[in-house]
C-alpha cells in the first residue's frame, strides 16, 4: 500500500510545485549566466563600461575637484608603479600622445617666430630686404625662410681637397684652432670610405653621390669634381648661394690643375698652389656669417656709385670735350692769323681763351709790334674782347709810350682836360694818382687806362676831391644874375641868354650834390591857363639845354607858375619883359 501512496503524493507535489520549479530552474540559469559574466572580465567591462562612464561623467560634472582629490593619490601611485614595472611600455604608450603635444608646442613657437620675422620684414626697408624679396620671387623659397637662414650662424672650419679615387688628401686648410685637433689624412680617408660605402649601399645603378655628412652642429659638405672632391667642414647653416660659390671654387681648381689631378699618383707637387687658392676662399668665409654674407651679397651701393661716376664722366666728356676741341681749333686759327703777319711771325706770342676772351701774352721789341697785335686781334672774327698782355722788351721806352698815349686820351676829352694826373709804371702794373671831382670820373679814367694796349693791370689811386659845403644863402644871392628872359609868347631860349647858362653851369659844378631848381614864369598877356602852360614850356626848354650840356638830369627840378609871382608890374612893356623869365635856385640834395 505504501508505493501507491508515494506516487500519489509525488503527483500532488508535481501539481502544486510545478510553477515554482519552473521559476527555480529559470533562476538557476540566470545565476549561471551571471557567474559566467563575472568570471569573463571582457564581458564584465562591456557590461559595466556605459554605466561607470555615465557615473564618472556625472560625478566629475558635479564635483570635479573632489574627484581629482580622491583619485590623485591612487592614480599617482598607479602611474609610479606602472612606470617602475614597465618603463618601455609606458614610453611606447605615451610617445604618440606626447609627440603630438611637443609638435604642437614647437609649431606654435615657430609660428610666433615666423610672425615676428615677417613683422620685421614689413617694417624694414633695406637693400638686403629688397634683394631677398627678389630672390624669394625668383627661387620660390618663402622670404621668411631666407630670413631665418640668413640670421643663423655659419662658419667654415676646414676645407679638404681629396683625390676622388684614392681618398688621398691633396690640400687642407683650416683655422688654427681646428688644425690642432684634426688628423687630416685620417679624415680624408674616412670621408672617402664613407662616401664609397654610402654610394655602394644606397645608389646601386644610379649616378648619385653623397652630398653631406652631419654630426651635431657640424656638417661636412661634399662638392664633387671630376678627379677630386672638396669636403667643407662647416658649423651652422650655410647661407643661400654658398653651394654655388663652392661649385665655382671647384671649377676654378679643375680648370687650373686638371692635368695634375688626372695624373695624380701621390706626389704633392702642386699642393702649395692649390692650398693658396683654397685659402683665399677660406679666408673669405671662415669668419662666419658676416663675412660669408659680405662675399655673397654684391656691393650694390659701390656699383651704383661707380655707375654714377661713369655716367657723370660721360656727360662731362660729351659736354666739355667738343667745346675744348673747338677752342683748340680756334686758337690754332688765331695763331695762324698772327703768323700771317710777317713782323709778328718770329715773335713769341701765346694765346689763351678764357670766358670768351682772347688773352695774348708774350714779348715784342716795340710798341709798334704791340699796336700791330692790337690791330690783328680786332680783325679776328667772333671775339669781342681781347686782352693784350704782350710786353715790350725795352721797358723804359714802353712805359713812356704808354704814359704818352694816356695823356693824349685825357687831352682829347673835355671832362678830363683840366685834371692834373700822374702815371707811374711799376713792374707789370700802372698806378694812377691825382684828384678827380667824382666817382664816375675816377671809374671812367681807370677803364680808359686799362684798355690801353700793353697795360695788364691798373691800380687806380685817384682821389675824389670833396665838394665845398653849399653856402645856400650866398648861392641864392648869386642866382638872379643867371635869370633867362624870353620873348613874347615864346619858349625858345634867346641866343644872348645862353652865356648865362654856361656861367651858371660853371658856378654850380662845385657842388656835386646840389639840386638845381628851374622855375618858369610868364606875363599876364594871355589867360592864366595859357600862361601856366607857357611857363612850363620855358622851364623845360632850359632844363633840356642844361642836360644837353651834360648836367645830370637827376639834379634838375622843374617848376612853373604861369603869371603868378611877377617881379614887375604887368601894365608896362618893360615890366612884362621882366616877368617872361626862368629863374634858378639851388637846393641841398636830401640825404
Amino acid at each position: 500500500m505504501t508505493a501507491p501512496k508515494d506516487k500519489s503524493l509525488e503527483a500532488l507535489r508535481q501539481i502544486l510545485l510545478r510553477e515554482d520549479l519552473i521559476k527555480l530552474q529559470k533562476l538557476e540559469h540566470e545565476l549561471l549566466d551571471l557567474r559566467q559574466t563575472i568570471s569573463d572580465k571582457e564581458s564584465l567591462i562591456v557590461a559595466l563600461e556605459p554605466i561607470i562612464a555615465n557615473l564618472l561623467e556625472r560625478k566629475i560634472a558635479v564635483s570635479r575637484e573632489e574627484m581629482a582629490e580622491a583619485l590623485a593619490p591612487i592614480m599617482g601611485e598607479a602611474i609610479r608603479l606602472r612606470v617602475a614595472e614597465a618603463k618601455e611600455d609606458v614610453i611606447d604608450a605615451l610617445y604618440p600622445v606626447i609627440g603630438k603635444i611637443i609638435r604642437k608646442s614647437v609649431a606654435e613657437a615657430m609660428k610666433k617666430f615666423i610672425d615676428s620675422v615677417n613683422q620685421k620684414i614689413d617694417q624694414t626697408l633695406q637693400s638686403r630686404v629688397f634683394r631677398r624679396r627678389v630672390q624669394s620671387k625668383l627661387t620660390g623659397v618663402p622670404e621668411n625662410a631666407l630670413v631665418i637662414k640668413d640670421s643663423l650662424p655659419f662658419k667654415i672650419e676646414q676645407i679638404f681637397l681629396i683625390h676622388r679615387e684614392s681618398g688621398t688628401l691633396i690640400s687642407h686648410v683650416s683655422s688654427q684652432d681646428a688644425a690642432a685637433k684634426v688628423n687630416e689624412e685620417l679624415i680624408s680617408g674616412m670621408v672617402t670610405a664613407i662616401r664609397d660605402f654610402a654610394s655602394e649601399a644606397f645608389s646601386v645603378g644610379k649616378d648619385h653621390d653623397m652630398d653631406a655628412l652631419q654630426f651635431d652642429d657640424k656638417k661636412i659638405l661634399v662638392e664633387l669634381g671630376n678627379h677630386f672632391y672638396l669636403a667643407l667642414v662647416i658649423t651652422g647653416y650655410e647661407p643661400a648661394g654658398f653651394q654655388d660659390e663652392v661649385h665655382r671654387l671647384s671649377s676654378r681648381l679643375h680648370h687650373r690643375f686638371h692635368k695634375f689631378f688626372r695624373t695624380f699618383q701621390g706626389e704633392l707637387t702642386k699642393s702649395g698652389e692649390i692650398t693658396k687658392c683654397i685659402t683665399r676662399f677660406f679666408d673669405k668665409h671662415h669668419q662666419g656669417r658676416v663675412t660669408a654674407e659680405g662675399t655673397r651679397s654684391r656691393p650694390y651701393l659701390l656699383y651704383l656709385l661707380m655707375a654714377l661716376v661713369i655716367f657723370a664722366t660721360t656727360i662731362f666728356a660729351i659736354r666739355k670735350i667738343p667745346p675744348l676741341l673747338m677752342q683748340r681749333r680756334l686758337l690754332q686759327t688765331i695763331a695762324e692769323q698772327f703768323q700771317a703777319v710777317p713782323e709778328l711771325r718770329q715773335q713769341p706770342l701765346h694765346f689763351r681763351l678764357s670766358g670768351g676772351h682772347l688773352i695774348i701774352s708774350g714779348n715784342v721789341p716795340s710798341t709798334r709790334h704791340l699796336a700791330l697785335i692790337d690791330s690783328v686781334a680786332k680783325q679776328i672774327h667772333g671775339l669781342d674782347i681781347v686782352q693784350n698782355r704782350v710786353m715790350v722788351h725795352d721797358q723804359a721806352a714802353f712805359q713812356s709810350e704808354i704814359i704818352h698815349r694816356i695823356q693824349q686820351q685825357l687831352q682829347q676829352d673835355h671832362r678830363w682836360q683840366h685834371l692834373s694826373l700822374r702815371f707811374i709804371v711799376e713792374d707789370d702794373h700802372l698806378v694812377i694818382e691825382g684828384d678827380v671831382p667824382d666817382l664816375a670820373t675816377k671809374r671812367d679814367i681807370g677803364f680808359m687806362v686799362s684798355e690801353m694796349p700793353g697795360v695788364h693791370m691798373v691800380i687806380n689811386n685817384l682821389t675824389i676831391t670833396a665838394s665845398p659845403p653849399l653856402e645856400l644863402e650866398a648861392a641864392q644871392q648869386q642866382m638872379p644874375q643867371y635869370t633867362i628872359y624870353f620873348k613874347v609868347n615864346d619858349a625858345t631860349i634867346p641866343a644872348a641868354e645862353l652865356e648865362k647858362i654856361a656861367a651858371l653851369l660853371e658856378y654850380i659844378k662845385r657842388w656835386d650834390d646840389a639840386k638845381l631848381i628851374v622855375t618858369g614864369y610868364s606875363d599876364n598877356s594871355a589867360t592864366s591857363s595859357y600862361n601856366l602852360a607857357l611857363s612850363e614850356q620855358r622851364a623845360k626848354a632850359v632844363a633840356d639845354y642844361l642836360i644837353a650840356q651834360n648836367f645830370p638830369a637827376h639834379r634838375i627840378i622843374i617848376r612853373y607858375f604861369g603869371d603868378s609871382n611877377p617881379v614887375a608890374p604887368n601894365d608896362t612893356e618893360a615890366g612884362r619883359a621882366k616877368n617872361r623869365r626862368v629863374e634858378f635856385a639851388v637846393e641841398q640834395e636830401r640825404q
Binding site: 684614392s166 689624412e185 680617408g189 670610405a193 664609397d196 655602394e200 701621390g266 704633392l268 699642393s271
Partner: protein
Amino acid sequence: MEKQILHRKKICLLGEFGVGKTSLVRRFVYNKFEEKYLSTIGVHICHKTIIIPAKEPAAAGHQLNLILWDLAHIDKFNAMIKNYFRGANGAIVVFDLTRLQNAQHTNAFLDPFLQMNPNAQLIIAGNKVDLVQDQSASLEQLLHICKTYNAPCKLTSAKTGENVEPLFSELASQLLKVG
C-alpha cells in the same frame, strides 16, 4: 737643409679574417699590439710618414706619407669592400703562417685589387711568425705565393714587432722607385 718632397700613397691591407692586418698596422703606426679587432664599416684608416734614408739614392730626400686602409676580410659576397681598393698605390697582403691552408682563397680579393690597380706595388707579409715552430715549411709555402704574384715577402710578428718596420719600409722604397 735639403727640401724634402712629400708623397701620399694609399696602401690597402688585404688578407683573410684574423690574419693580423690590424695588428700589423697598429704595431707599425702606434707601436702597439692589441688582441682586440677593430670593427668599422669595413675599413680602418690610419697613416704614418716615412722619411726615406739617404742611402736609398732613388728616394733620398723624399717623405712618404702612407695612408693605410686596413680592410675587413673580403669574400665573394662582400662587394662593398672592393670599392675601397680604388686608387691604391700599393697593398700589403697578409697571411697567417699558422693557417696557410687558407691561402688558396687569396685570388678572391687579390685579383679584383690588381684589376682595379694594375700598377700597384705588392708585398707579402707572413704574420704570426712568433707562433710558428717550423719556419722553413711556412716559408716555402709563402714563397710560392710570392712567386705567383711576383711580390717580395717578409715574415713578421705584430706581437713582437719583428720585421714590421722593414715590411713597410720595403714597400715605401718600391713605391718611390715606381712613382
